[in-house]
Symmetry: C2
Subunit: 214 residues, 2 copies
Amino acid sequence: MFLIKVLVIGAAGRVGKLVVEKLKQTTSYTPVAMVRSKDQKEMFQKDGVSAVLGDLEKDFESAYADVDAVIFAAGSGADTGAEMTIIIDQEGAIKAIDRAKHFGVQRFVMLSSMAADRPEAGNREIKHYLFAKHRADEYLKSSGVPYTIVRPGPLTNEDGTGTVFLSEHVNGGESIAREDVAAVLVAALTHPKAEDKSFDVVQGDTPVEDLFRH
Amino acid sequence: MFLIKVLVIGAAGRVGKLVVEKLKQTTSYTPVAMVRSKDQKEMFQKDGVSAVLGDLEKDFESAYADVDAVIFAAGSGADTGAEMTIIIDQEGAIKAIDRAKHFGVQRFVMLSSMAADRPEAGNREIKHYLFAKHRADEYLKSSGVPYTIVRPGPLTNEDGTGTVFLSEHVNGGESIAREDVAAVLVAALTHPKAEDKSFDVVQGDTPVEDLFRH
């Protein structure tokens, strides 16, 4: 059977780990976890998951060997300062998109953030972050790589409900469980209706398996 | 006589002030100083210079009325943190380029920074800044607005010498007086040989008036 090889960038992150889990549970995808440390790599491998070392700030080209699709779930986090927002969230993503283009990746699914399509609306604390995410999203849109951009509302660690509300634009900032975001990222991988589209997503009533049907 | 109206964005900055001075001394250009505060505006006006209020973080569209060319000399400075590097140096510049395109500006001269064309080479302290400048420069290059990008070495407050070394790539990080940088930005305004080109510039032996001749 043909397995679609999905490189998960940021696999050791909170959403990334859940993405790897979801991919493992499918019969059509096989995850490759891209991580920065040997410990993380061994952790995934012990769990039966392929893993590669790669650092968004340095080199990670070798991670793309035979990769069919990419899910970008990396982020510098809130504790490292805006320098790292530029270096990882914006430029790391742009480098990952360049590599995806170079290696002919068939789909690039980007974990973005609600309001990244209208950063001016952001308050003082998050505006720079939204601009950085916006710039990466815009780069992806004009890259020529088939893409899906997913912009979730505020993330929670609740158990996933399996149901969401997904639309090109959602008014209001309802939250969503990281587990449900991970499921949406995986669902977006091959649906033709998700190709070259951007979506907001929050908790809601639509089963994830019914998304992108029409 | 036909006067070329040049909007100087960041006119109250150290390079910006010198650019306004240089433009005033010419017979073919007339500067419009874009500044953030009423005090700065009055200061320029007392000096016989047209000035407009505009804030890169907010709105400045009205500053573009009848503008033929733009010199972008704004920067958030080293004291405000990387958040402002994104908001001003990168996104303020991108917004200024969008406006220039919208209003059919004939030349956009960008004050960039040496190594902004190879940010990966930057050390930890300035890498994020170089990435932000790089992103703005790349945006300008693909905007369709006729441009010149000037990337000076480390800036000093020495008196200008009137002579520089300008080349598409300069090896080494020699410094250059802000006054000479200002003169180069002004010289780049209308020379056909400077159009859609990017240059490094440091102190050297070529009189600024001889630049862009061949």
